[in-house]
């Protein structure tokens, strides 16, 4: 504050407009130096490929021969004659709905339990957060082992309690639920964000609600939920986008459970069992980088872009709103 007063005092009527203009130019140059690398990087690694993807989506391109313009053929093929893209889209839609709901509700549940603890918050938070740092490829392998139908500890435990464990990653109906469990186990980041929001809810509001005779459930609905709703929205959008790009866990689980010799080397086991783990990004990868149908993969990418841009827009708008609130007061 003092500094602005000082500079105004110095720059009072005596300062000529020319130096002021010079200052503005210098300031603009400074800003340019600071953001030039990032701008360049943005243009090369986001701007250019976004536009180029749209162009490639109208071509047939195998990386060796020049792209050949074929109009809307890729899109037509995508929506009509190719069954596996439908399977992939269905799997991803399944994940978008189930995985998002499970992840957010679970993270909210765990965070509320932690927020009620009187002591040991740090320890419990640490234990719940740590799994989310595990490398996805490694965590997936661990889960394929844990959920092994014959000798995995999970089915052994279920057997002990008297429940018939399923085939999990080897059963087309159970592979996606198993992947969902894996994601829930690794949702510690979201839990910490929600926990921080929960601890931020003003205590007086709870007390006021309690005086008005509101029970725990009503307090949760009328006090907790409204105050943490921006963070929950962030969690939902974040989870949807996470589900839309679900790749590593799906491709590793599918291949590893089927006993593939080498995930990087063959396509035979991708999506196993019975294409139930063939997500949209996995099929995009196979089309583009195993079959070298780059144009077709680009068309798939354009559709993915449209869908995820829609959800990103919701988040950006929310972000802008909270920013205005902060600046406004």
């Amino acid at each position: 504050m003092t500094s602005t007063l000082d500079s105004r005092a110095v720059a009072s009527p005596s300062a000529s407009t020319r130096t002021r203009k010079g200052n503005a130019a210098r300031r603009r140059r400074t800003v340019f130096y600071f953001i030039a690398p990032a701008m360049l990087g943005f243009l090369i690694f986001f701007g250019y490929p976004l536009i180029a993807t749209v162009y490639y989506s109208f071509t047939r391109y195998d990386l060796i021969n020049a792209p050949e313009f074929i109009g809307f053929d890729n899109y037509v093929r995508m929506f009509t004659s190719e069954p596996l893209v439908g399977t992939a889209a269905y799997n991803t839609l399944w994940l978008v709905i189930v995985l998002t709901v499970c992840r957010v509700v679970f993270a909210l549940g765990v965070a509320s339990v932690i927020s009620r603890l009187k002591s040991g918050v740090g320890l419990v938070r640490t234990l719940c957060y740590l799994p989310s740092l595990a490398p996805p490829a490694a965590a997936t392998l661990a889960f394929v082992f844990l959920f092994n139908p014959e000798y995995g500890p999970v089915n052994a435990f279920l057997d002990f309690v008297g429940i018939d464990g399923g085939l999990w990653f080897n059963d087309p109906a159970m592979s996606k639920p198993a992947l969902t469990l894996l994601v829930m186990w690794g949702s510690g980041e979201l839990m910490i964000i929600i926990l921080a929001a929960l601890l931020d809810v003003p205590q007086e509001q709870y007390e006021a609600a309690e005086l008005d005779g509101a029970g725990p459930v009503r307090r949760f609905w009328h006090v907790t939920l409204p105050s943490i709703s921006p963070v929950l929205l962030f969690g939902v959008v974040n989870s949807i986008i996470f589900a839309l790009q679900f790749f590593t866990q799906a491709i590793v689980a599918g291949s590893a459970a089927a006993g593939a010799a080498d995930v990087a080397g063959n396509t035979k086991f991708i999506g196993a069992p019975q294409n139930s783990t063939l997500t949209y990004p996995v099929w995009l990868y196979v089309q583009g980088f195993r079959y070298f149908n780059m144009g077709y993969a680009a068309a798939m990418a354009v559709l993915l872009f449209v869908v995820s841009a829609g959800f990103t827009w919701i988040l950006v708008r929310q972000l802008r709103k909270s920013q205005h609130q902060e600046e406004g007061g």
Partner: protein, 297 residues
């Protein structure tokens, strides 16, 4: 300290020692009862990691027997995995990728985040929103032209396509650093400028030292993200085994040694270990950084 002091206040001196003992136990039981849900949650979350480490030291037969606890402890499994696969090489590749990418992300993101949080310019809001959008975009959206570009430059099969972009633009690092920088009062920078610093000097001499915890957190997230990255390496180094990082190698390891789950879990434990060590040492920065990514600013 408090547990020692409290009973003295609560219980009169004349009370027999037996009752005092029981009170202490009651208190402990009460604590366990009220915290049982929390404790149970923590245990459940840790179980998979515990099983990985327990299976890693089993004999290969026992790993297939659905026993939880190893009957014999085969710590030599950890050495055997290094003989079965060139894990050291993969480890080196992972280190190279993660370290260089982290350095690059900091070099490019600190000035950008400084401009976004401490300077005023036209299009600032737009630039910030574009950064957020880039952060949220699935990597598969831009991958076709980028792959094409790197093929033409002749860099596929190396780690260069993975590392180079970080030296220009890493949306997440810019975003996170901006959030941290916003918490540092502008007054310090103004004071430095009155003392004759230009913006660059103010950033290096004042902001960076003050923002050290935030920069450390950003570096850790970048390291972690690249260490865990699977899609990028699969795309660019999938066919060049020599350039594989650990994440890629681990997924193929199990296939190469079919039923030897004990060795696969030993390798899995080895790739998880650096992450766990990093976390134990820098837990607070992680938590703070994560909280900052929630929509707060």
């Amino acid at each position: 300290m408090t547990t020692l002091a409290e009973p003295r206040h609560a219980a009169p001196a004349s009370e027999p020692p037996k009752v005092r003992m029981r009170r202490k136990w009651d208190k402990k039981l009460y604590w366990i009862a009220t915290h049982s849900v929390g404790i149970a949650m923590g245990v459940i979350f840790m179980l998979p990691i515990l099983f990985v480490f327990l299976t890693a030291v089993m004999s290969s037969d026992q790993a297939l027997s659905s026993n939880f606890w190893p009957t014999e402890w085969h710590f030599e499994n950890f050495i055997e995995v290094f003989e079965k696969a060139p894990l050291l090489r993969y480890f080196g590749n992972s280190m190279l990728y993660s370290t260089l990418a982290t350095v690059g992300a900091l070099v490019s993101a600190i000035p950008a985040a400084y401009a976004l949080s401490k300077l005023k310019f036209r299009g600032q809001n737009l630039f910030f929103m574009l950064t957020v959008a880039a952060m949220m975009l699935p990597p598969q959206v831009t991958v076709v032209p980028l792959y094409d570009l790197w093929v033409r430059l002749g860099f596929t099969g190396t780690l260069i396509p993975l590392i180079a972009p970080y030296f220009f633009f890493d949306a997440f690092s810019i975003f996170l650093l901006r959030q941290f920088f916003l918490t540092i009062p502008k007054d310090y920078l103004e004071a430095a400028k009155i003392d004759g610093c230009n913006e660059f000097k103010a950033m290096v001499k004042v902001l960076i030292p003050m923002a050290k915890p935030g920069i450390a957190a950003t570096a850790m997230f970048c390291f972690l993200f690249t260490w865990n990255d699977y899609f990028g390496p699969l795309l660019y180094t999938g066919e060049t085994r020599d350039s594989w990082p650990l994440s890629l190698a681990i997924a193929s390891f199990r296939g190469m040694h079919h039923v030897e789950w004990n060795l696969t879990m030993a390798a899995t434990a080895l790739i998880m270990l650096p992450v766990i060590v990093l976390f134990v040492f820098a837990q607070k920065s992680f938590v703070k950084g994560i909280t900052f990514t929630g929509v707060k600013g």
